[in-house]
């Protein structure tokens, strides 16, 4: 367990890092994943959660579009418990050019995306929330995907195959021997403990922060940080994904997911130093609300739950430091051929949708360096949780007459739901009523999914993601975490951090019912509970 030597060390606990660790582990390598914070804290957890069909890119970037649809179909198979097959609409509004529809559909078909022009009347029946003024609609195989769950499933599979994971651990420097990277110095940000780890290959999968990691290794990568802001609504008003059928623009995708829906996004270049502290501005909120209501008018009267923003890990090409020639494609850099630095690979660019392909490309590069010849199997091997396709079937296999909460858990965890201890009434008590998360599901996440804080727990179970934004469940879950970790003082601080993190996403949209809820929460914690 305490070995410090591995075949490969992967830096970054986003979906690319977790996917790369899984692929490496499946090819028989001894792996270690190091993440400075928690899984899915960067761009992985800060996007629409859209299972792109690729249609959005079909006209401008046919190559990305073709990649997307291939990966889309793969994820439906290997990650069925993270995916909801909703389908999507590309709608034309009276102010849009209906002629674009044909260009769009032709491009989709050329990229292998099943795009079908349907009657606006049919679109209104299929998706009652859609703007009834639409003049055209195209149906495409979009869907929604839960990136937290997807990331956790990749990490869990890597662990089941012997991989090790160090969360809340940052790389403070690289260990070099002549012209090769042979290991990393790390520091645990919670305990302060410093450790060194060794491997002949280190993979940089740190997204936008990869620029900093590369600099630590003494090589240059020129990232182009582009902030995207999104809003989550407190109710799920649409069944299907709704997009605008026009050239990609701001706030033109509305994605349903679990109990909510998400509108986004914007795109603004920000200085690299701001990547750790992105904030949503009032102008962005106004833009998202206004444009969102054009897709689905009900949004203008629906409570907004949170505002959040992510940073796309775009890469400026090597000969263009100005950033004008931005690639949205996958970038894999072997620093041996590029910079003369052995044992170091950077995988970046790409999208959530193509994480598996990125992992495959990075793992191929690692295997070439290690002289390992084993084919990639991630496209056909289901992730843990997705061995069965229907959550109803999963729930029924475990419980004779599953309750609503048990069905919700099965939808979240797939076959992994069998890890939940059950049979005891005390395990079935609900901690989070908004999202129906039970004591058993929380304990199971604590036992298997590397949870050290309430925010970690939220990413793995949806605790605190619902309409009350953690008002009551935060406290209850803190009680369980305090017991599991045996440290109340740390837990009290954790609770404050969690509430602060929730508030960060609430105040940019602090009016109406959101402000009512915030007033209640702030009053209860300060004056009633005494935090």
């Amino acid at each position: 367990m305490n070995t410090r030597e591995f075949d490969v060390i992967i830096l970054g606990g986003g979906i690319t890092g977790a996917g790369t660790q899984r692929d490496c582990a499946m090819r028989g390598l001894r792996t270690l994943l190091i993440e400075r914070s928690d899984i899915a804290t960067g761009a992985t957890g800060r996007n629409h959660g859209l299972l792109h069909s690729g249609a959005r890119y079909a006209v401008n970037d046919p190559e990305s579009a073709a990649e997307c649809i291939r990966e889309n179909l793969i994820l439906r198979r290997i990650a069925s418990h993270c995916v909801e097959e909703t389908d999507g609409l590309f709608i034309t509004l009276p102010e849009d050019d209906l002629a674009y529809q044909q260009t769009f559909t032709d491009a989709c078909r050329a990229a292998g995306i099943g795009a079908e022009i349907i009657d606006p009347d049919l679109a209104r029946r299929l998706e009652p929330s859609v703007n009834p003024a639409l003049t055209g609609a195209v149906r495409v195989p979009d869907g929604s995907v839960d990136p937290f769950r997807l990331c956790a499933a990749n990490m869990l599979d890597a662990k089941l195959r012997g991989g090790q994971v160090r969360l809340h651990t940052e790389v403070t420097g690289f260990i070099r021997e002549a012209d090769a990277i042979v290991g990393v110095h790390t520091r645990n940000r919670q305990t302060g403990a410093c450790e060194d780890f060794f491997a002949p290959v280190v993979v940089n999968a740190c997204g936008i922060w990869g620029q900093h990691i590369a600099a630590l290794a003494g090589v240059g990568i020129n990232m182009y940080p582009a902030k995207g802001a999104l809003l989550i609504f407190a109710h799920r008003i649409n069944r299907m994904v709704i997009n605008r059928c026009r050239k990609p623009s701001n706030a033109d995708i509305l994605v349903p997911g679990d109990t909510v829906c998400v509108i986004g996004t914007t795109s603004t270049r920000i200085p690299f130093e701001e990547c750790d502290h992105v904030a949503v501005t009032p102008e962005e909120v106004t833009l998202l609300v206004t444009e969102g209501a054009l897709l689905a008018p009900a949004l203008s009267s629906t409570r907004i739950l949170r505002a959040y923003a992510g940073v796309r890990p775009l890469v400026s090409s090597d000969d263009d430091p100005t950033g004008r020639n931005i690639s949205r494609g996958i970038v894999c850099l072997d620093h041996e051929s590029r910079d003369g630095l052995k044992g170091f690979v950077t995988i970046t660019g790409g999208k959530l949708m193509t994480y598996r392909l990125m992992a495959e490309i990075a793992t191929d590069a690692v295997c070439r360096k290690l002289g390992v010849e084993r084919a990639c199997e991630t496209a056909t091997t289901p992730l843990p949780g997705s061995e069965e396709r229907s959550y109803e079937a999963v729930a029924r296999k475990i419980w004779e007459a599953p309750s609503m909460a048990q069905k919700a858990a099965a939808a979240r965890m797939g076959t992994g739901v069998s890890r939940i201890r059950s049979g005891k009434r005390s395990d079935e008590a609900l901690i989070c009523e908004c999202e129906e998360v039970s004591v058993g599901e929380i304990n199971s996440a604590i036992d298997h999914l590397e949870v050290s804080t309430l925010t970690d727990l939220r990413r793995r179970t949806r605790v605190g993601m619902g309409t009350c934004q953690g008002e009551f469940c935060a406290c209850r879950a803190a009680g369980l975490l305090a017991r599991a970790h045996g440290c109340v003082e740390r837990e009290r601080e954790d609770l404050s951090d969690f509430l602060q993190e929730r508030w960060k996403g609430n105040f940019p949209i602090g009016w109406g019912d959101t402000l009512r809820e915030a007033e209640y929460t702030q009053w209860v914690y300060k004056h009633v509970l005494g935090l």
Binding site: P282, S426, A429, Q500, V528
Partner: protein
Amino acid sequence: MRFDTVIIGGGLAGLVAGISLQKEGRSTAIVSAGQNALHFFSGSFESLEEAPQRLSELFGEAGIRLHYCSGIRLMPLGTFRPAALSLEDVSLFETPGFARKALIVNFAGYHDFFTSFLAEGLEKAGIACRIQALDLPELERIQASPSEMRSVQIARTMDRIWEKVVREVGALLGDEDTVILPQVFGLRDITVPGRIRQAMPARVVFVGTLPPSVPGIRTQALLKRRYEVLGGTYLSGDEVLEADLEDGTVQSVATRNLGTHRLLAEDFILASGGYFSKGLRSNPFRIWEPVFGLDVDFAGDRTAWYDPAFAADQPYMAYGVKTDASLHPLLDGMPVKNLYAVGSVLGATRPEFGSGAGLAVRSAFRAVDAILKEEAL
């Protein structure tokens, strides 16, 4: 329907005003939309210490005793706060080291009472702690539903079986001098917490749970009963929709349930609460008072409404209706002569009234005095 005074809002401020006016022989009606801040009352009157004589009297006549001693009180997450005027459920101590050894007792499967936080807080104060859970068959029925193990449901059972709980806790007691229990006792019978204290062979300290607050709900029920015994008309589950003003004076208000039968009165009291109670409403551009459209004091730039730190005093909480010195709210800059604003519709704090329950009570008394004085003239 005609009354001397119509009160909008049935929380602490509205009830204190209503009871005081009824006692002076005025006929009043209270329009209450439903739950109010008493449902998550900590049991302590923020910003009040020694009870004003008339408050002790008013609560005493409703069957509620209040107490105060200079020192501290224990909060549900194991922290200490300065003591404030409190219900008897709340124990007040001179120092944090109020005991030698404490037994903290919870009910198995109840997650809204924070035993490990309490133990940590007490141990920091030098009090050794032991945590025990009672597994009671009487709670099984509630536990069968995953979301029913909450304070009020448990309290309903405790009303029946508190004597058994005292015996079982007594049996768990070792050499502890203090027992710590959740505040889930005496929902309907206010004497229960006192009787538990008498029957237990150790000192009993009740500590708050997650809302709803059992002592708060009981307080609301007792004050409402007192108000009705005095002849007040309490309109539950109703809501004032709009008001009719003439020459800067309120003539009548309309409610959802009464429809065209408007409520007429000489004076009106607005005790409709803050944002949570919908006494104040907001959209991205403004904050307003929905019944009369009164002038509200708020920053025009929305970004100034919030402090990015969750724990900071939030600017939006301080916003409320503007009034003159006699609590007459302003409408387009002019005071409305026969209308008084009390409680958190004034904003969370006012220098002369304090905040929370203190603000509710002090401002209600001020309005009552003004109404009575006016009539005497």
